[in-house]
């Protein structure tokens, strides 16, 4: 494969390097500069809101976590799509507006379904 074929992917590489580098820099910086005051509570394993499980790892999880995570991803992606649209709002014009409306309405339908189905109802 010739190098020119990969040329369009150069920005991607840049993003990768930037994101990875930034993460690394932040971690390193906080490790170096941050104050360290360990306590018993702080050093327990963090498990997304649930009690840490000392016994078997094959415990049953409430499916609610997954649903919320899925919903988060869906709307996260929506934002990802909305952002470039907003940037090019004028150039895309009514056509872009229509397309995004279809996209958003589809998601709203999904949300309405999920909501009524009770997926957002944490207690039940």
């Amino acid at each position: 494969m010739t190098p020119d074929a990969l040329a369009p992917y150069l920005p991607l590489l840049a993003v990768l390097v930037l994101a990875g580098g930034l993460g690394a820099i932040v971690s390193v910086m906080s490790a170096l500069l941050g104050p360290k005051r360990p306590s018993a509570v702080k050093s327990t394993i963090f498990e997304a809101g649930s009690e840490p499980s000392p016994g078997s790892a094959r415990q049953r999880f409430a499916v609610k976590f997954y649903v919320v995570a899925l919903l988060f991803i869906v709307f996260d992606i929506e934002t990802v799509f909305l952002y470039p649209w907003a940037v090019n709002f004028k150039a895309l014009g009514w056509f872009g507006y229509g397309e995004m409306a279809v996209f958003a309405v589809t998601l709203v339908i999904g949300l309405a379904y999920v909501w009524k189905k009770g997926a957002l109802d944490w207690e039940s």
Binding site: M1, A5, I109, Y113
Partner: protein
């Protein structure tokens, strides 16, 4: 500067069936949560209306000129429209079978129909895909809907097993297909099928590019394996009996009819477009080997089955084999001769490969098989009882014993379906086999056709055994009768009539089907 593609109404023309199905699915979903207190009997009706509308729109585009739309991502061609039509028919008939089945299991929920419709939309888009990523996404849309449907009755061990197996193995095959697509992309630097086809042709003619040939071959083989899973070709068939048996019967009907049709059509499109530049008979050998193994394997495995649902699952494998004979005949290059069962026999002068004829044969077969298999599973689904499912003899042959005395009309319908599956005139299945085998003989695949005819004869044994049980065995003492249900009976009547009419008057599909040989191959 941003350049917008200019989209016209023609660009959306092929998408309409999928759009209608999706809109129907959204409606059903919303109705499920907002109208849940009301009776749910309108949901199947809504589903059927959506499929009928989809079928009508698909039928309306049959006479279009093959073109690529949406920047070449989607095609508008009669072949795709006709397969969309078959898919809508398959999904619609399966939806008609569902209400009685679900009611018997207290599982009437709108999600079932929504998933059916979403799956249908995915299938319809799949056959129109002209780009590998788009194709993969559509394949996943239909697969995910089908995984969920297979495990829909999640309370029993069998549906859970079916859903799980289907999901795991399906993910495996999707990965294989995706890997193949990646390899092909590496070889051709494009994901648009026509461009890939042109590039492949260059790879195989330009000696400086010959180092990419292994990549191309491996990619093709992997994509073929991925499709082989969806169409249940031997040796990628292993999931079929377990999943078909465990899935709710209307879902099984949909899987064996519509999903199979969609996967076949997509496979034919991909390999027709990509295969133009492949020299020699690599594709022919591949497909004829698959056809050979599938016909023999499917029929032999079906032979000892007493479980009719499993038998039909194996029968679905064997029918994939017959269809593969038609697919193989697409890749015979005129002038080649090679001996052997899988090879091309030189025939009398004038016999030339007729690609359009073979495509028409495949289309007719898909249509005939769709109406037949949905009907057969429909009868079976209406006869099974919940409490027997766990013990596994819900679909034993004895369940059908004496059906002719208890329910003469059902027995007639089932007999019609069995005869059609067995390829016995004057049923649709016979005409389908005839068309496929004829185009294969025209192409010179005599050995394969002989195997096909012999295995059909083997198949007649287990299909006719069902008829024997229905007509010549006394009814069991405590044989429960299915409740009468309008929509189930409507589906059965429609498919029985379709099977007989297509068999007796195959010409009524005439002008439409004659367009079926028209596939968009790119510029």
């Amino acid at each position: 500067m941003l350049t917008l593609p200019t989209l016209t109404s023609t660009d959306f023309l092929p998408l309409w069936p999928a759009l209608i199905l999706s809109a129907g699915a959204c409606l059903v979903l919303l109705s499920e949560v907002f109208l849940s207190s009301a009776s749910r009997s309108f949901q199947p009706l809504l589903t059927v209306i959506a499929t009928v509308l989809g079928a009508l729109v698909a039928a309306a585009t049959v006479f279009s000129v093959p073109t690529g739309v949406f920047g070449g991502f989607v095609v508008l061609d009669p072949f795709g429209s006709l397969v969309s039509l078959v898919i809508c028919i398959g999904v619609g008939l399966s939806a008609l079978l569902a209400p009685a089945f679900l009611r018997g299991r207290q599982a009437e929920r709108g999600e079932f129909y929504a998933l059916l419709l979403f799956g249908g939309a995915g299938m319809s888009l799949l056959v129109l895909s002209n780009e590998l990523i788009f194709l993969f996404i559509n394949l996943e849309i239909l697969s995910i809907a089908t995984y969920a449907l297979a495990a829909y009755l999640r309370r029993g061990p069998r549906p859970a097993e079916a859903g799980f197996k289907y999901f795991i193995l399906g993910a495996f095959s999707s990965a294989v297909l995706l890997y193949g697509a990646a390899l092909l992309f590496g070889a051709t630097r494009s994901t648009l099928l026509p461009q890939m086809g042109a590039e492949l042709a260059r790879i195989f003619t330009d000696p400086t590019l010959s180092d990419r040939q292994p990549l191309a071959y491996c990619g093709l083989a992997l994509i073929g394996a991925g499709f082989g899973f969806k169409i249940a070709a031997v040796p990628f068939h292993m999931w079929t009996p377990d999943v078909y048996e465990g899935a709710p019967t209307p879902v099984t009907a949909m899987m064996s009819a519509a999903v199979k049709a969609a996967a076949f059509a997509a496979m034919v499109r991909v390999f027709l477009v990509l295969g133009r530049g492949i020299p020699g008979d690599a594709l022919l050998t591949g497909f004829s080997t698959l056809a050979f193994l599938t016909m023999i394997g499917g029929n032999l495995l079906a032979l000892p089955q007493r479980n009719v649902k499993r038998m039909l699952a194996y029968s679905s494998i064997s029918h994939a084999g017959y269809l593969l004979v038609g697919v193989a005949s697409l890749f015979v290059k005129s002038g080649t001769t090679k001996g052997g069962v899988l090879g091309v026999t030189a025939l009398a002068a004038g016999a030339t490969p007729d690609t359009a004829g073979a495509l028409r044969g495949i289309l007719f077969y898909l249509l005939a098989y769709t109406v037949t298999t949905v009907g057969a599973f429909g009868v079976l689904g209406a006869l099974e009882r919940r409490d027997d499912e766990v013990r596994g003899f819900a679909w034993d042959l004895d369940r059908l014993a004496g059906l002719a005395q208890r329910k003469p009309a059902w027995a007639v319908a089932m007999a019609v379906f069995m005869l059609s599956l067995g390829g016995i005139p004057p049923m649709a299945g016979f005409m389908g086999k005839l068309l496929i085998f004829r185009s294969a003989v025209d192409a010179g695949l005599v050995g394969l056709v002989i195997v096909g005819v012999l295995t059909s004869a083997v198949g007649a044994y287990y299909y006719l055994r069902v008829v024997v049980y229905m007509y010549m065995r006394p009814a069991p003492e405590a044989g429960g009768l299915p409740e009468r249900n309008l929509s189930t009976e409507l589906a059965l009547v429609l498919s029985t009539v379709a099977v007989v009419v297509l068999g007796v008057l195959p010409g009524i599909t005439g002008t439409w089907l004659s367009r079926g040989g028209s596939v968009f191959l790119g510029r």
